[in-house]
């Protein structure tokens, strides 16, 4: 896959996430959708990192976490800040916790992921709005590089 093709797929996933959040979510009002949006953001980030790795003629590993680790040494060169890397890890963490979680439920406008030890990962509309804005910033910065 070439660099442009990866970026184009990244943009597709971003547009899906953006549409789900700004058009579908206000209608359905189902916080479960927030997790779907996080998944689209995760896909977008994976393709964005893949675009960087392809540009550097490196093979992209499978999975967001391995891709984040692969892109870390190149972060400064590609204008990715430490906050951007921490954000990507948070996205990975949310989806990882969801896979492990024995209990999920909605409370108000938030989707709650509860661990075996009753530790909570709370995904709110506020979080998802921030995730989208940060993803947009990363995507824009990689596209214009």
């Amino acid at each position: 896959m070439n660099n442009n093709s990866s970026l184009s797929k990244a943009l597709d996933h971003f547009q899906t996430a953006d549409h789900l959040f700004h058009i579908t979510f206000p209608v359905s009002k189902d916080p479960k959708l927030l997790l779907g949006i996080v998944k689209s953001i995760s896909n977008c980030l994976e393709y964005t990192i893949e675009a960087i790795l392809t540009k550097e003629k490196l093979t992209a590993p499978e999975g967001l976490l391995k891709k984040i680790n692969a892109v870390r040494p190149l972060a400064v060169k590609h204008h990715l800040s430490n906050d951007d890397i921490v954000f990507m890890l948070r996205i990975h963490e949310i989806l990882h916790l969801q896979k492990q979680s024995p209990m999920e439920f909605k409370r108000g406008n938030t989707h709650i992921i509860c661990s075996d030890d009753y530790d909570l990962e709370i995904v709110s509309t506020k979080d998802v709005e921030e995730f989208l804005q940060r993803t947009k910033k990363i995507l824009h910065s990689i596209k214009s590089a």
Binding site: R107, G108, Q133
Partner: protein
């Protein structure tokens, strides 16, 4: 919300205990939304579900702490939040 319907769902065949507990917690969370946190309906449902699932006590505490967070506005996007993170909402 119909308690009988929820009990039917909880005791549906081919469901695991985790699935039944999830139904119980989601239903309890929903009834608190619908009738109020300390409503008679919510208390009645809690009493029934806590008899079946001892974990309900812990989940009630979890939901109480979440509601305290909502009351403090912790999960709402406030003007300036995005800007403070260097993320301008265009």
């Amino acid at each position: 919300m119909d308690l009988d319907k929820i009990m039917t769902e909880i005791y549906a065949p081919n469901t695991t205990r985790d699935m039944r507990l999830t139904t119980a917690v989601c239903s309890y969370s929903d009834i608190r939304n619908e009738y109020g946190n300390s409503s008679a309906e919510a208390e009645k449902m809690y009493a029934v579900l806590a008899e079946i699932f001892p974990e309900m006590k812990k989940y009630r505490e979890v939901i109480d702490s979440l509601d305290a967070g909502f009351a403090r506005g912790e999960f709402e996007l406030l003007p300036g939040d995005l800007e403070s993170l260097g993320l301008k909402n265009e």
